[in-house]
């Protein structure tokens, strides 16, 4: 379980990106984090694995106080936190397999990783994951040869091979077409369910979030302004999060949600 308490971040520029955010994510829950650009969504998930250093507050992941760790212990903690990125963030000149295996870097020594001599178990797991995301025939392709959807699948495999306790997912579908976006979101949610893995998913497509996640948290100007189930999102809530706009076409009503969850369970 992830417990964030009173987390604040002030950047050197003086911007207050987060203003006392508290949030609990139980094991196995997929949480959608929505909010306008600049609300602090990216900062929030980057504070969890300390790619951004929080200014104040505590982050407790299964009993470990992440905000206190020194660099060696921080690396150990990062191994158990998988991250999936907007624009995939694969190392473009490395192969698919090298990208996936880079998820094991925290577990292997320098020379083993330098010579790409990973333990057989890691290689087996990499093949298994690539098979699971449908890319086991592309092991030796360079990452920059893949399509957007394929790259994000590699990104997912890289995060999962870390054997994480928590997934941080930053706008996973921002540069994907609507169909691929749904496939990627479905894959992430299915994998979380298979592994009883909790995830925080930053997402700006409200309807897509409603389709897949179990809980939605709305962030606005560094503060949580909404926290509830997806079907409780309505025009009033969206106005609170994003500001005045005609929200009729953005949300989906219950009947659609039910229909889609039927589709999901049917697969």
């Amino acid at each position: 379980m992830l417990r964030i308490t009173n987390l604040s971040k002030r950047y050197k520029t003086g911007d207050d990106a987060l203003k006392g955010v508290s949030l609990e994510v139980p094991d196995g829950q997929v949480l959608g984090l929505i909010g306008p650009s600049g609300a602090g969504k990216s900062t929030l998930i980057r504070c969890v694995n300390r790619l951004v250093e929080p200014t104040t507050g505590t982050i407790d992941l299964n009993g470990a106080q992440l905000q206190r760790l020194g660099s060696r212990k921080l690396r150990k903690a990062r191994r158990r936190i998988g991250m999936i990125f907007q624009e995939y963030a694969l190392v473009e000149r490395l192969t698919v397999m090298e990208n996936v295996l880079s998820g094991r870097l925290g577990y292997v020594g320098f020379w083993a990783s330098w010579f790409r001599k990973f333990p057989q178990d890691d290689i087996n797991e990499a093949f298994r994951l690539l098979e699971r995301v449908g890319l086991d025939h592309m092991v030796n392709k360079r990452a920059d040869e893949l399509s957007g959807g394929q790259r994000q699948r590699v990104g997912i495999a890289r995060a999962l091979i870390q054997n994480p306790e928590l997934l941080l997912v930053d706008e996973p579908t921002a540069s994907l077409d609507p169909k691929t976006s749904r496939q990627i979101m479905r894959l992430i949610c299915e994998l979380c369910e298979e592994r009883n893995l909790s995830a925080i998913v930053n997402i700006h497509d409200v309807a897509l979030a409603q389709l897949f996640v179990q809980r939605i948290v709305g962030l606005q100007d560094g503060k949580i302004v909404f926290d509830g189930p997806p079907d409780s999102l309505d025009s009033a809530v969206l106005t609170q999060i994003y500001g005045e706009e005609d929200w009729e076409a953005t949300t989906i009503d219950d009947t659609q949600t039910d229909k889609h969850s039927l589709e999901l369970s049917g697969e």
Partner: protein, 267 residues
């Protein structure tokens, strides 16, 4: 709607707004150029005499002599090639850590300043000046040339490689860091793949520069084909000098061609 057209003129605003300043600067430049070119003292009698010698030199290219100073020629060329290859390799090996230290996105400030100082020193001193100093310390011969060229390679390669590291894609670097990789693993997996093509391209380019420089360093006693060339000029053996210059041109062209092939291949 066309009959009601109002004609509105537009001109690009001048870079210097004040007209008197604009034309004043132009006038000043012309006057300066007139007097400074006029300050050169041309001795036409000397030019007439020299034209003959110049023509003899150019004629020698039609009839280059590779044979009569054959052993000097081979010895000089061998020295130059050895000097070029060793100084490039040693230069590259030393440049890589300095480039990592001189990249502001990797190194802490003190390391950054120290590495930048080394680069600035290497770039401030021209090869000829360094070579004169090295000849004074190590005596005549290719050792002085080797050290000079290694030193010059460091300034060139570290600076350009550091700039490439500074402009790398942050997302790829962040993604590898998030897996819990150590610093060296991070360099190997996130930074190296991004800058490798540039490093190889620059190294090939520097090999080419070092060979050309080795031909000049001989003039101040630092060995190599330049020393042979110098001797040929001193003896007015223009046909041997022509043979040496033709060889230098051919080697430089071969290096140029192969480096462009290699650069295309590593992209």
């Amino acid at each position: 709607m066309s009959d009601a057209q109002v004609v509105r003129h537009w001109r690009k605003p001048p870079t210097i707004e004040r007209a008197w300043l604009r034309y004043g600067l132009l006038l000043l430049t012309l006057v300066y150029l007139y007097f400074s070119v006029g300050s050169y003292d041309v001795n036409w009698a000397r030019v007439a005499e020299g034209l003959d010698r110049g023509w003899a030199f150019i004629k020698a290219f039609a009839n280059p002599d590779f044979v009569s100073r054959r052993s000097d020629f081979i010895e000089g060329m061998t020295e130059s090639i050895i000097m070029t290859v060793t100084s490039t390799v040693v230069g590259i090996i030393i440049s890589i850590p300095i480039a990592l230290g001189a990249a502001s996105n990797l190194a802490p400030l003190p390391v950054y300043l120290f590495c930048r100082a080394i680069i600035a020193l290497s770039r401030a001193l021209h090869e000829i000046i360094v070579a004169i100093l090295m000849v004074a310390i190590f005596g005549f011969g290719p050792l002085a040339g080797f050290i000079t060229l290694s030193f010059a390679t460091i300034g060139f390669l570290s600076k350009l490689l550091a700039e490439d590291i500074e402009s790398m894609d942050k997302a790829q670097a962040e993604a590898v860091k998030a897996t819990g990789a150590s610093w060296l693993q991070w360099i190997n997996y996130a930074v190296q793949p991004q800058v490798m093509p540039r490093l190889i391209g620059l190294s090939m380019y520097r090999l080419d520069i070092n060979f050309r420089e080795s031909a000049v360093l001989g003039l101040v006693g630092a060995g190599g084909i330049g020393a042979t060339l110098n001797t040929a000029f001193d003896r007015y053996e223009f046909d041997t000098a022509a043979a040496i210059i033709i060889s230098i041109i051919v080697i430089v062209m071969v290096l140029e061609y192969s480096s462009s092939l290699i650069r295309g291949w590593v992209q």
